[in-house]
């Protein structure tokens, strides 16, 4: 009966007023502004913002957050655009600028939270150029002498991430930055013990776009940032491609033992397994390298001596996995980051729950420096790749932070 009641409410809500009608946020409900590159199938807006329009599953209930999307700025409206339809259906306004969106057309900041949804997501269309959504937002916060919690899916590079972290410190607003991958279910539900001593870490990823690499780096960072001494930053980054990836492994620059552990966590081996359905020991059998047509790796040297690598292994596996060797721990720690199937992509429901809590509580469960480091490594990875794999020093990533001890992923 509860279900019926709530459905009735939602159905009524979805009848929607005519376009152009000012938002009709519920009294007392938190007001959200969305700054999106686009609102199309597969876009982060569709994966995340929609959950604040129609609800999402949370701990066994269909939760309708006590907050309303009241305004939207959208960069691009391609043919598949859904933003205008959403605005009409849910009664929020689309404004032509970030400032007007945050002020809802009036003269002062008029929202309680901002969602910046500018990553590529699962939308395979070319990434729009993407105007800077951050600076005009910060300007409004400064001018109006008030700042509100911000969720940001993926910074466009280190410089932008740094500005975000600095603004958040100066103006005192909490930032939750990151994709759903570090937040999704982990099989097993592993977080490295807070304060552990990491020797080496390795992340296996798939995909080819900037967002795929970013997600792999961000997830690596989410795992290793918990180590003892806290995060002290990154010393250097190197891109390795082609056969050099395997040679770097043979030289011990990344650990074959960790690759074996990470691949053993995969639930979707490629190659012969696709043909005969048999699990295979891809790493020890030597079958793995020939499966990966274009191996790519990012080698990361942290300031405290921890060595890490991200290996993008399209053709060998179909999922994101991680392994680490900890000092004085005989067993390698490893896990698999579940990418729940389309279209639900239930991992983004876990993310929505964290965003909702962020806006309600004014506190972020993770540190935005995670995104700063991840986007900074990504910038240097791309740069090193262009410079034929030269090792690049990363003084801009010598930042220190300590993440909260509490874990932040589905079911944690």
């Amino acid at each position: 009966m509860f279900v019926t009641g709530r459905r009735t409410f939602l159905n009524t809500a979805s009848a929607g007023p005519a376009a152009g009608v000012p938002n009709r946020a519920r009294p007392g409900a938190k007001r959200l502004a969305i700054l999106a590159s686009r609102w199309t199938p597969g876009s982060p807006a569709r994966q995340v913002a929609d959950r604040f329009l129609i609800g999402y599953p949370r701990e066994g209930r269909w939760r309708r957050p006590d907050m309303d999307v009241v305004s939207l700025y959208v960069d691009h409206t391609p043919e598949a655009d859904q933003s205008r339809g959403r605005a009409a259906e849910f009664g929020f306004r689309i404004y032509p600028s970030v400032a007007e969106t945050l002020r809802c057309g009036r003269d002062r900041l008029a929202v309680d939270g901002v969602l910046i949804l500018a990553g590529q997501g699962a939308d395979s269309s070319p990434r729009p150029s993407g105007s800077d959504l951050l600076e005009p937002m910060v300007r409004v916060f400064e001018e109006d002498r008030r700042a509100v919690p911000v969720y940001w899916d993926e910074p466009m590079g280190q410089a932008q991430a740094r500005k975000m972290v600095e603004a958040s410190r100066q103006l005192g607003f909490p930032v939750l930055a990151g994709s759903s991958l570090p937040m999704t279910w982990r099989l097993p539900p592993l977080d490295l013990p807070a304060g552990c001593r990491v020797e080496q870490a390795l992340m296996v990823g798939i995909g080819s776009g900037r967002s795929d690499r970013y997600r792999a780096l961000e997830t690596l960072q989410a795992m290793v940032e918990r180590r003892g001494g806290g995060e002290t930053g990154v010393r250097s980054v190197q891109s390795v491609e082609g056969q050099a990836v395997w040679r770097a492994g043979s030289r011990g620059r990344w650990s074959r033992e960790l690759l074996q552990a990470a691949v053993a966590r995969s639930d979707s081996l490629q190659g012969q397994t696709l043909k005969d359905g048999r699990p295979r020991d891809l790493v020890n059998s030597g079958e793995l390298p020939p499966l990966v047509e274009h191996p790519e790796a990012c080698l990361v040297d942290y300031s405290d001596g921890v060595r890490a690598a991200v290996l993008m292994l399209n053709g060998a596996v179909g999922d994101f996995t991680f392994a680490a060797r900890l000092l004085d721990v005989p067993e390698v720690a490893s896990t698999h980051f579940l990418l729940p199937p389309e279209p639900n992509r239930a991992g983004s429901a876990c993310l929505a729950a964290r965003i909702e809590d962020l806006v309600q509580s004014g506190r972020s469960p993770i540190r935005p420096e995670r995104a700063w480091i991840a986007s900074g490594i990504l910038d240097r990875w791309m740069e090193s790749s262009k410079k034929k794999g030269v090792t690049l020093e990363t003084p801009e990533l010598r930042l220190e932070y300590r993440p909260p001890a509490e874990s932040c992923f589905c079911g944690s």
């Binding site: 009966m1 966590r265 359905g277």
Partner: protein, 446 residues
Amino acid sequence: MSNSQPSLISRRTVVAGIPAALLLAGCRPGTPERPKIAALVTEYRRRAHGQHIVDRFLGGYGWGGRFHRPPMDVVSLYVDQIRESDLSRDRARQYPSMKIYPTIAEALRRGGDSLAVDGVLLIGEHGSYPRNEKGQTLYPRYEFFRQIVEVFRASGRGVPVFNDKHLSWKWEWAEEMVETARELDFALMAGSSIPVAWRLPPLEIPSNAEVEEAMVIGAGGGADSYGFHGFESMQCMVERRRGGETGVAALQAVRGPRVWESLRAGSWDRGGWDPELFEACLCRSLALTSTREGFDHSYPSLEEIPGLVKDRVTDSGPQLDQPLAFRCEYADGMKATLLLLEGLTMGWTFAARLKNPQRLVSTHFYLPVRGLGGGAEANFFSPLVNGIEKMFLTGKATYPVERTLLTSGMTEAGVDSLWRGQHRVETPHLAVRYRPTPEPTYRRCS
């Protein structure tokens, strides 16, 4: 008494007193060799249970962050049905230590005159077997089992047996299988891969909790095949409730429009179920069909649900018989509903209302099947195989076979209820009492 039957020496007796660590490492004093396993399968073809399970014993699988090779050898294989797609000959060529035998007895004796293996895999799922008028596929698990036991008796000893899925489609036979294992004192383990799957989130009913009402929602298959998976999903959770398992007193299966009447009823007493359990199950799904066009994940209204649940109809008629609901009245008063709703969701979810204190718990049994994040290797077989390995090494069932005795009986009773016009059937024979293992047996860290 020189002519008397040799006494049965159970594996349990053999391994008693040996530290578990030694057993798990495969280092059993007195039996320095790796255990020898006989695999008896109805079919060995791509995507058949026989293939997924035996291939893991032969070639290994990812487990605990490494590629695990079971410390035992499948040395003999019996295949009941060999068709064009058969892979058994191919596997025998690849693994010369595994020989194919023309009969079950020979596979167990391996050319000698007495039992010559340390464990038996009985995988009687898939293959072309007749269906009876009630819609049960007459897989020959009991028939295989009898032949196994004949060899055990003649050899004066028994070894652990794993039986994939139900024990038998017929209650009396299922019961006889369990009784025989008890009589001859060999370990018997059975069931579905769902009870040992990952749980998102990890959930076990606290052992002192009272369960008022429980629900499982699944999809796929028919009453016999997938009903069984659903009952196993239910049973592996509720068996931990206060007082232990005491069995099922009555069961009713309903299908078609009657299920939608139950959906609207609003409570168990009115012929339905607790709507919050239903909501919890759907909210634990990773593949809930979206009812709002242009949205990826929406919650369906009660009015929308009937339109989503569609049977797969082929030339030979409806294949799944869905929607299907099984209403189970347990002997201790607990109520439970199993729903099969193909089209609304994929995968298996569970929810229960606990009392003292009142609490609603729910989880998703995560099986990496294709379409749900899994690949061709069907890794949901890995925890199943790992549990079987443990039995072969320790001589003890990793979890109680009584669970699967009960679920085999529930499945048969459900099929029976459907066949009798969806009438409630009393099930006094299902007064199966058992206690689960104290420790969880589902996949948690490995």
